[in-house]
């Protein structure tokens, strides 16, 4: 910063920067990693982090209720689905915490609108044109804001002005170096393709795992191999699908959670030392009905559960302003009532993890979010 910039900043009131307990942007704690795992399809929070001590839980869920003797007991109120065994051990060792009755500002029950709100950070669908993860990149120093989607395309949360890359292992024979080089030349003059192609080449050069295995553990390992590199991406998004359990929920949710559990453990193992500086949040667009439906599943609901994991998260607890499941406590008489803002949770988590002013995070990521009271105690200090 030269003298003139300094004067300009102070005259704009940026002197407050120095009074703030948070680091300036240039010094944000950028050696950290952040991963957002989206559960597309409305994951059933009530059968993931199970409020077994709520007297209405078993009644509402009937045969879908998880047998608490088989689940992983978290405290006097909640238990974890038995398929999340490795996650449960992270909770026990203080590296995972769960937040219940959370929801984005979206209150209707369309997956696609709900995902749009969750990923753009608006309050109504299609109000904001880029994703909150992409806007987050603007708060990190340019040299350290590489982001990656572990998919062949880029999901909404990562779309926007900042360049991001995408990578997923391919089962196709690799293109020859000669062809790749010629394509680089061919796209040089094309505004749209030029940047995309360069990002693709960067990611390709970084991948040392040529295997095209797509099972959850291999996928987690692949993600970790990128994120553990010193010059690799710091910010990542992983998409998971298949959570829309209108029927056959018992077996399907078990399979889904088992896959998630395997992937999370593989990410932790693969990150090695970097795990201590990594924060993961798992979130979905909305929850599912409190009661089982007529077909062995649950329908679209509202409040859900989020999982937060990482080497220095302040784990071993469930954060919930529990609204209860009695008929009068349910949202619109059918769904878990949301009592924690998912936007606020994400903003607070990123602020604590990267040591950036939560107000700044809020303004940038969730400009429509009026709640400013950061949730504290998410990261160990």
């Amino acid at each position: 910063m030269n003298r003139r910039d300094f004067l300009r900043l102070t005259s704009l009131g940026a002197g407050v920067l120095f009074a703030s307990p948070f680091l300036t942007l240039a010094n944000a704690d950028t050696d950290r990693r952040f991963i957002f795992i989206i559960q597309r399809g409305a994951a059933d929070g009530l059968n993931t982090v199970i409020p077994y001590a709520d007297p209405d839980y078993a009644k509402l869920r009937g045969s879908l209720a998880i047998d608490v003797s088989k689940a992983i007991k978290l405290n006097g109120m909640f238990a974890l689905h038995p398929a999340l065994a490795q996650t449960g051990r992270m909770y026990a060792s203080g590296q995972a915490l769960f937040v219940h009755a959370v929801a984005s500002p979206y209150r209707d029950r369309s997956h696609f609108d709900g995902q749009n709100v969750l990923e753009t950070g608006g309050t109504v669908p299609y109000q904001i044109k880029d994703g909150w993860m992409n806007r987050f990149l603007s708060l990190l120093p340019k040299s350290q804001n590489d982001a990656i989607a572990f998919a062949s395309t880029v999901p909404m949360a990562l779309r926007g002005a900042n360049e991001v890359t995408s990578y997923a292992p391919s089962a196709l024979p690799q293109a020859s170096d000669d062809l790749l080089m010629r394509v680089t030349q061919l796209y040089a003059q094309d505004e749209q393709l030029h940047g995309l192609w360069n990002a693709a080449m960067d990611a390709k050069n970084m991948s040392d795992d040529a295997s095209a295995k797509q099972d959850p553990a291999s996928f987690g390992k692949l993600a970790a191999s990128f994120l553990s590199k010193t010059d690799g991406p710091r910010i990542a998004m992983i998409e998971t699908g298949g959570w829309d359990t209108h029927t056959g929920e018992e077996a399907r949710l078990d399979r889904q959670l088992r896959s998630l559990d395997d992937m999370l453990a593989a990410i932790r193992d693969g990150l090695g030392q970097v795990w201590s500086r990594t924060t993961i949040i798992v979130a979905t667009e909305f929850g599912r009905t409190a009661a089982a439906n007529g077909t062995g599943g649950t329908d679209h609901g509202t409040g859900a559960a989020s999982l937060i994991l990482g080497g220095d998260v302040n784990g071993g607890k469930v954060i919930a302003d529990w609204p209860g499941l009695s008929n009068s406590s349910l949202y619109e008489g059918r769904d878990l009532k949301p009592t924690t803002s998912l936007d606020n949770l994400i903003a607070s988590l990123i602020a604590a993890s990267f040591n950036i002013d939560p107000d700044k995070i809020n303004r940038t990521l969730f400009p429509e979010n009026t709640r400013k009271n950061a949730i504290s105690g998410l990261i160990r200090t």
């Binding site: 369309s110 991001v164 020859s176 393709l193 089982a292 599943g297």
Partner: protein, 464 residues
Amino acid sequence: MTNAINMSPAAIAINRFGLGATLNDPLPGDPKNYLFDQFGQFQVLPSPLAKLPRTSELMTEYSKNLLEMRNADQDEKKNTQRILRKDSRDDYVSAVRARAESALVTPTPFVERLVHFWSNHFAISVEKPAVANFAGAFEFEAIRPFVLGNFRDMLFAVETHPAMLIYLDQVRSIGPDSQAAIRAAARDPDKKHGLNENLAREIMELHTLGVRSGYTQTDVTEFARALTGWSLSGIGRDRNNESPASGFLFRPNLHEPGDRSIMGKTYSQNGRAQGEAILRDLSIAPATAKHIATKLARHFVSDTPSPGLVDRLTNAFLENDGELKSVYKALIHSPESWSPAPVKFKTPWEWLISALRGLGRQDLEGINIVQLLNQLGQPTWRPGSPAGFDDIADTWAAPNALLRRVEVAQRIAGPLGDKLDARTIGDKLLLGSISKETQTAISRSESASTGLALLLVSPEFLRR
């Protein structure tokens, strides 16, 4: 700057409205008439599709399989299931291949593209194994025959087809006060039977009115009640019943009795007629017209179509009671459709089909099209959600996705290097709209097959 090459009207008719130029087709005379003429020439069941099993046969097989699974003992169950999964996978693979082969040889590529559009609008997904058997038959029998007809007829065919009824869980939805629910509660009071609102919601949100068009959660639930009883023959206890060819069966004992009120209108019909009356109203609602108009305009003209264009298509839909040909005509007559800038980025399906057509392929010998589409990110009939695949560039123009196209281009162009000359066919396939940069890159490539691959991934070939 984004590729400044302008498309000629002929290029627009063939590459934007059709499935991509081939080396053999004659140039269209009048581009608009070239498109209109296809309405009269469209074949509902072209030869690649004619050999596939019909819904009725698949339904018989499905109900036989269900019975087999039910009767299998614990040891056999896994094995039986494995065999059945393989069978339905085989059905799926041959249907995808037949669909692609039709797209390669069709004399009416504009109408064929409309089939693909509608099939994605009424998306089903083979993620559900039971849907895999029916996915092809769904498109060939519930979509194809109706693309040039009335929207209502397509809607009815779609919502009563086994693929949709299974995919959106309708077959198991039971009226809470229906005879079946009352009898079941008497047998076992702990077991809950009731509504599943999945189909009702997606019909309103995705198939007709469109999201945020004014309906409420109560409307969805009421519609779900009205739809109870919409089921399939040949499943459950009465599997020996005579099986109607479509597989659809209304089961009165599952139907929730009583009037239904939806968006201020009361439906007092009994039984099947109740859901039908609601569906009929939805099919011609102004919100439905606007929803369909927006999607068509987005597919053919721009990721963000102008309100003027959408209004024109909406009016054509409403003034003609959902007659789709009138909507397509309004589209073709709209000046926006002929805007020379190639603004639509091809989806993986569009790109692969146009690439194979451009290479002169008439069949898929030696090509594993299912795998290629998986790797390109658009597995046929498996969009991952009932909303179908996105139709905008932001979804498909992505770093790794581009690399996949280059890999596929190398693979399909590889064997043809000594048969086709990219320097001469490029101009033909792009009907004059090939850039100097692309021509130069092709002419400098180290081998003929590299030249072909470069043509297929060139900026102008990726767009339409």
